[in-house]
């Protein structure tokens, strides 16, 4: 296993966290911390509990064991009102943007400002234009969300996520379903926002190639467990066969192609189960 590269106080820390849906264990005894003001990527195949990870940070799910700490306080033990004030310090970019379909681009970005502040509308106007400018969509303010392409929708969602100047921003599969140009645009934005605003960023993704170019730290998950972490170079050079399989995209390896089952012969009724 590769060692972590940072020493500063982590903004997010998991201490032996487990999570299960009924009998299915999604996350098994995970202890990790995210370095502040850096971009961290969490890699893992589909169904390895990456999105669950983000929902645990946001307090939308509670771990069945262990604690998730945000800035030193346990998210899952917070009172309702404390949880809501913690969430104001987080931003989240959902997989497909999750823009409010009945609002315009402008109103989407203005939404968190209008809900949480009593700013005069002139000021909100300026703030929204600044946020939209940051993602390069100031000209699209009056469009409806249905008129946006996938990449544009995600940029608007990003502008909305940074509207309240969060300290932590989470990206759920930011590159899924985008063309190469849109992918680079988003990757570039993630980097720019991180350095310009000093935000801690977490990417949950299975898009290894793009991510390795922009992140500072990587965590690789498989089967609900952390199988390795380190800087992009360390991950690239890793000798762990599971990590190598994931990075190179091989079909079968330590991560099996087949879902656990009875042997093929038993399933087809040729042999009887022992």
């Amino acid at each position: 296993m590769v060692k972590s590269t940072t020493k500063a106080i982590p903004i997010i820390e998991f201490s032996s966290v487990s999570f299960s849906y009924g009998d299915r264990r999604i996350i098994k005894d995970v202890s990790i911390s995210l370095p502040p003001k850096k971009i961290t990527a969490i890699f893992g195949g589909s169904g390895t509990g990456k999105t669950t990870f983000l929902r645990l940070v946001g307090g939308q799910l509670n771990p069945s064991k262990g604690d998730v700490f945000f800035d030193g306080k346990s998210i899952n033990r917070m009172k309702y009102s404390d949880l809501y004030s913690a969430r104001r310090r987080m931003g989240m970019l959902f997989q497909f943007g999750a823009l409010f379909t009945d609002l315009s681009v402008f109103d989407n970005v203005a939404f968190p400002l209008r809900e949480h502040t009593n700013l005069p509308s002139r000021l909100i106007d300026d703030l929204v234009k600044m946020k939209l400018h940051a993602v390069g969509l100031r000209g699209a303010a009056s469009l409806k969300t249905a008129e946006l392409s996938g990449g544009m929708a995600r940029r608007v969602a990003l502008a909305r996520a940074i509207a309240l100047d969060p300290e932590l921003i989470m990206y759920d599969e930011p590159f899924t379903g985008l063309d190469p140009i849109a992918t680079s645009v988003i990757a570039n934005l993630i980097q720019k926002l991180n350095s310009a605003l000093g935000i801690t960023s977490v990417l949950v993704t299975h898009d290894v190639e793009v991510s390795l170019k922009i992140v500072d730290h990587c965590i690789v998950m498989a089967g609900g467990e952390v199988i390795g972490q380190g800087s992009p170079e360390e991950i690239r050079k890793s000798h762990n066969p599971q990590i190598r399989q994931f990075i190179k995209g091989e079909i079968d390896g330590p991560v099996p192609l087949h879902y656990p089952s009875e042997t093929y012969e038993v399933d087809l009724g040729i042999k009887h189960a022992g």
């Binding site: 939308q60 004030s85 969430r87 104001r88 989240m92 959902f94 968190p112 809900e115 969602a157």
Partner: protein
Amino acid sequence: MRANAFLKGFVAIGRITVDGVWKIGAGTKFILNVISRSRMTFQRPRLLIDEIFFTGTLSLIIIIVSGLFVGLVLGLQGYETLKRYGSAEAVGTLVALSLVRELGPVVAALLFASRAGSAMTAKIGIMKSTEQLSAMQMMAVDPYARVVTPMFWGGFFSMPLLAAIFSAMGIIGGYLITVVVIGVDGGAFWSQMQANVDFHGDILNGIYKSIVFGFAVNTISLFEGFDCVPTAEGVSRAVTRTVVTSALAILALDFVLTAFMFTGV
């Protein structure tokens, strides 16, 4: 084999019962949750006005047109029957009582369920399946207080008004067909109606009915939306369930309320 089929039957009955009980419990908890977060709705009337527009104003046309036609039919049928007994003037009473007591609240609620109720379910369901509700939570905005509760109150205030409009339009429809077209005496039409329709016993009870129906339809619609499987198919199924469950609830509640209100002893 037959024993097996019996067993399956029992299993099915058991599952339906468990599901039903679960739904009633979860629905009750849901609606209490919704109502307990009403503060924002009344602090920001803007939210309420938007939802009254969404549930009430957008249902106005269908309510007016249906009310008018139901009144026309009632007038025509009532006249044909009452004429045989030489009391065609009583057609006003017939039209008014049937509308104010039963058809107004019930048919308006059925139309409301299929127009506004299904739209509420679809809206909540789509917001859920596209993670808009989740996104709202992550922006530290309570989706109940911000989205669901205003819808509930919007529908709650719209329903009795829609029922009143339906009844009024129906009576106007009855007047048009019997007095203007057929030529029943207009004075008798109105006076017989006024002598026999009681404000408390008939009109207010009809309004109470529509308030109860509105509460039921809103609860069902919003709960089905919130509870749906977050996929396109899940949303469409939830919409269907809203219309079916609402219709059954309206008719069953109508029976219970009528038994309480109009069996005058």
